[in-house]
Symmetry: C2
């Protein structure tokens, strides 16, 4: 039998965001691989082996899943959000690119999911309403100078910016540095959306201005959206304000 | 009864990408609004009114849905893809911002969906694997000079670029102009992914180089992903190549 590897996006925490395609891919697999907390979201099925791994072992996790698929199994490698956005799809492709020839013969499928920036944006309105970018603040895989260049370019050109991996135990100063940098280009009143654990029981959404943005409001489970000069707030009686970026731009 | 408006993302064409939350929002509504072809994807339910509209009447469509919600109804306004990405969520917020005070008291919910770039990326591997941006090539709502500035900034800073609305009946030259512009910054061999009608029966995915990219391969149902100098192809025996952008960057 020809081995198969599905790299499956579970979406953010809420099971109502799990697509039928992703659910079927997980249910039909002989073996499940993934970061422990994501794997815990898949229901246990008899006869299905489960291989949780640590958050940082991405290359090893991809190789282990590919090896199992190459043994003729139907394997699912699960990710939170979308597998193609700062997650395992690129890692799997990279391992296939540099791995044994037999991995190129596998049936590989990427199953898309709702990525965090879409879920956080939906909670507050439409902050990604016009052109936007997604930027990882992690300097584990690229130099900080590249991140600085991309922050400058995005802010100067008027992109809304979704910041993935804003902070971690080992990376404490990057988000503050990013805000400082963005203050050179964006008005002090630019709305910033902090979305933490979106779709989970401990979800927390906060909206502040760039001037007042406090990096300590973010953690490893957070996504931060930085608006543009055109992003607006609509205050509402008894409800949180809507945050949106109009689709039109004038200059 | 307090009126309610859900702006619902149906995802791209494939029903296996429709989330349970979106399905429930559509099923539970008293009235459905939306562009005709999207509305046709919602199953007919007795007692539910349906209000299809033309593609271009976005402001009117948002107002009609808000008026119905303000009359105390449970209304769903459906969009393809994600409502927050070049779709109706920003339009609805804009109408609330400038509309009657009663609209600010409505219960407004945005229901996220899989947006086209995630689905197209998944079909070929992981082309959005590192930092990326989403840019609409439509100059209906912003001047072409803004689009040029954003193309320049994104390409120079090394973002993968997902081009929404690359072409339409009334906008025939923009995609060719964008490719010409990007050729100043990106290698001739940069991979370009054309995704047409992803998830539908007439889906068509094509991968070419920037040098050979033919704008006539795109139409109104297309999304185009432009890689970076780091985007790679992995050739595979008997299968289409994988396209991916490594998560790491060196400069």
């Amino acid at each position: 039998m020809r081995g198969r590897l599905a790299v499956v996006g579970l979406g953010p925490g809420d099971v109502r965001w799990l697509t039928p395609e992703a659910e079927a891919a997980v249910a039909g697999a002989d073996a499940l691989f993934g970061y422990g907390p994501y794997l815990d979201r898949a229901p246990v099925r008899e006869g299905q082996s489960r291989h949780p791994s640590d958050n940082r072992q991405e290359g090893q996790r991809a190789c282990a899943a590919l090896e199992r698929a190459a043994a003729g199994k139907n394997v699912a490698l699960v990710c939170g959000g979308d597998p193609g956005v700062f997650a395992m799809a690129a890692t799997v492709c990279e391992q296939i690119d540099s791995g044994p020839a037999v991995w190129r013969a596998l049936d590989v499928e990427i199953v898309p999911g709702i990525t965090a920036m879409l879920a956080v944006a939906a909670r507050v309105g439409a902050p990604l309403g016009h052109d936007f970018c997604a930027l990882s603040l992690s300097d584990n895989l690229k130099p900080w100078s590249v991140i600085e260049r991309r922050l400058d370019a995005a802010a100067q050109a008027g992109f809304v910016i979704a910041l993935y991996n804003p902070i971690s135990k080992a990376r404490q100063w990057q988000l503050a540095a990013a805000f400082d940098r963005l203050r050179h280009y964006l008005p002090a009143t630019t709305p910033i959306v902090f979305g933490r654990a979106v779709g989970r029981a401990d979800e927390k959404i906060a909206v502040m201005t760039l001037q007042a943005a406090d990096p300590s409001g973010a953690d490893m489970a957070s996504l931060v959206i930085v608006g543009t000069a055109e992003t607006r707030l609509v205050s509402r009686p008894g409800q949180a304000p809507l945050v949106y970026t109009p689709r039109s731009a004038t200059a």
